[in-house]
């Protein structure tokens, strides 16, 4: 069954039509590359899924049940995690503290509860090992490479039982070697039967890791097909409008 299904989703901001009549299905363990030019409606779509604002029209269902998110924490509770473009990390804290930020592990009883650093370091270490990342839980994020920082942000999504991970331009500003690292992190998520939406401008990255590609143009979905049946040339044409739809 589809983990997430959008049907006829539209969004207006006053007279501006940011998104019109978009339908989209996400399956467990599937990586979907979401592509489109600036202003094509990618981020509006993602923000609706993430609960930043409700759609003007249309419905969202998760595992067949209708859902409506009023704030990001609603979406988070439903199992939708976001990896922000800037990763939303605190440079002055350790990797483990960042992973657990806002969901710290505590020990003690009643009102006498203190942070359980030992458990957080241990569990964060396990998460990094699971992601096959060299990130060390006790290191300050300030001293980390772009790839390690990505691992911290992604490890955060593994804390809860996330079903969908939305990644906003994860490979935009990092080195070639780190991109490979991030793409393998995406594959790790897929192995765990998590649906990943990869918002990206970088064609090679999307083609390297995605199973399916969705192209947006002027608020409409103009293509939704298996990556094997498409090509970078076709996608470029779809993004620019040289090809009407596919």
């Amino acid at each position: 069954m589809a983990i997430l299904e959008l049907t006829g989703v539209s969004k207006h901001f006053g007279a501006i039509r940011a998104l019109s009549n978009v339908s989209l299905t996400l399956n467990p363990g599937e990586v979907v590359g979401l592509m489109g030019d600036n202003g094509a409606g990618k981020s509006t779509l993602v923000k609706i899924v993430a609960g930043n604002y409700p759609p003007s029209d249309g419905t969202m269902t998760m595992l067949g049940r209708k859902v409506a998110f009023h704030k990001p924490s609603d979406a988070r509770r439903a199992g939708i995690e976001i990896v922000y473009q800037d990763l939303a990390l605190c440079d002055n804290l350790t990797a483990a503290e960042n992973v657990y930020l806002g969901r710290e592990l505590m020990r003690g009883f009643g009102p006498f509860r203190i942070l359980n650093y030992a458990a957080m370091f241990k569990r964060a270490g396990e998460l990094f090992a699971e992601l096959k990342s060299e990130t060390r839980p006790r290191d300050l994020v300030r001293r980390m490479s772009g790839g390690q920082r990505q691992a911290v942000a992604i490890a955060r999504t593994r804390l809860s039982d996330a079903k969908i991970v939305l990644m906003d331009e994860p490979t935009a500003a990092i080195s070639v070697r780190q991109i490979a690292e991030v793409l393998s992190l995406v594959r790790r998520l897929r192995e765990q039967a998590i649906a990943v939406v990869l918002i990206s401008h970088r064609m090679p990255d999307v083609f390297a890791v995605a199973d399916r590609i969705v192209v947006m143009r002027r608020g409409e979905k103009v293509a939704d097909k298996a990556i094997a049946k498409s090509s970078p040339e076709e996608v470029t044409g779809l993004i620019t409008g040289a090809i009407e739809a596919a």
Binding site: A88, L93, E97, N98, L101, G102, M106
Partner: protein, 357 residues
């Protein structure tokens, strides 16, 4: 191999590079506690304070006397107590300029209440409530209305002192009703403590308060969610918000905590002086911020320790005291204090540059 003078095979060289990398990573992981210690600004400030104390003990006959040390510790306790609160605010990326005014407001509430015959058990809670109220107002304006902390607390600096003047009609208050002895004991009293080698020493009661505050704050900064959230907000406020940290609530609470510290210091200082005028604590916010900054609090947020704040305050007082004892004109005090602020931050800058390389 094409070039003749390269003695090693490129693959071998690559392995060597990798091995070196592993080694250096290893080294950085197993950094000894000594490296950690020497990388802390607090450590160097503590050393500076210790050196100053030793030099003074040798240079002046008066410094190491119990009476002088008693005075020094008591004098810096007031600034240090507030500096702990200020450090919390600075860690969260804010600033509180209103502490000196809150100090006098709190002192004046206690003074006027007791002057009118109220019990100390009524006057002190009232003064602390007034301080918390000021902090709550600051915090609400900063967190919920979104005004810059500098502006809100600058306004409050003016308001709180003016309210203290209105309350007292700008009089000097020195009669504190039936509970006067308790108030004077609270701020001016001491506890006898017997220590091995040193024998019996007197600990001024503000210093005891300071110790309790220090231990409490150090614990809360490190071991509670509230403490972690202060650092997270100061490090990256947006990240804290999107990860579900109650940023606004924490911000309000930290300004309340800082005001509470100032209020407590105010009560203690009135008890010590045995009198209060509306000029009490004027310009104190600058000493407090100086103490926090010298102690390692970073004004851009995300860094600072309670211990550092106390050591910073101690260093400032030792400098002040030493200039007096050595017979140097008190006009030089500002130069010395100012230099220490600049040196402390300069040191931090150099260290940050080292870390980036």
């Amino acid at each position: 191999m094409v070039t003749g003078n390269s003695s090693r095979h490129p693959v071998a060289r690559q392995y060597e590079v990798a091995a070196n990398l592993e080694q250096s990573i290893d080294k950085s992981v197993h950094r000894s506690w000594l490296t950690w210690l020497t990388s802390q600004q607090t450590f160097w400030v503590s050393m500076a304070a210790v050196v100053a104390v030793v030099v003074l003990g040798l240079a002046s006959d008066v410094f190491a006397t119990q009476q002088n040390l008693f005075n020094v510790t008591r004098n810096f306790a007031f600034v240090a107590i507030i500096a702990i609160g200020m450090t919390a605010v600075i860690i969260s990326g804010g600033i509180d300029l209103s502490v000196g005014a809150v100090l006098v407001l709190s002192g004046m509430v206690v003074g006027m209440q007791m002057n009118a015959g109220a019990s100390i058990w009524v006057a002190i809670p009232l003064a602390l409530a007034a301080s918390l109220g000021v902090g709550a107002f600051n915090g609400l304006m900063i967190a919920y209305v979104g005004m810059p902390a500098f502006v809100v607390t600058l306004g409050m600096l003016s308001i709180a002192r003016s309210v203290a003047m209105v309350l007292s009609n700008n009089r000097m208050v020195y009669e504190f009703g039936p509970d006067q002895p308790q108030l004077l004991a609270l701020g001016g009293g001491f506890v006898d403590l017997w220590l091995p080698w040193l024998g019996q020493i007197q600990i001024p009661s503000p210093v005891l308060f300071l110790l309790v505050m220090l231990l409490g704050a150090a614990f809360f900064f490190r071991w509670t969610r509230w403490g972690r959230y202060l650092f997270a907000i100061g490090g990256n406020e947006r990240a804290a918000t999107v990860t579900g940290v109650p940023v606004k609530l924490v911000k309000v609470s930290v300004y309340m905590f800082c005001s509470l510290c100032a209020g407590m210091a105010g009560i203690l200082e009135v008890g010590w002086l045995g009198t209060i005028t509306t000029s009490l604590g004027q310009g104190m916010e600058l000493s407090v911020i100086a103490a926090a900054v010298i102690g390692g609090a970073n004004l851009s947020g995300g860094m600072g320790t309670a211990f550092g704040a106390v050591v910073g305050a101690a260093l400032l007082e030792v400098i002040r005291n030493s200039l007096i004892l050595l017979g140097i004109s008190t006009f030089w005090q500002g130069t010395f204090v100012g230099s220490f602020i600049i040196i402390a931050v300069l040191f931090d800058r150099l260290r940050a540059r080292d870390a980036n390389e």
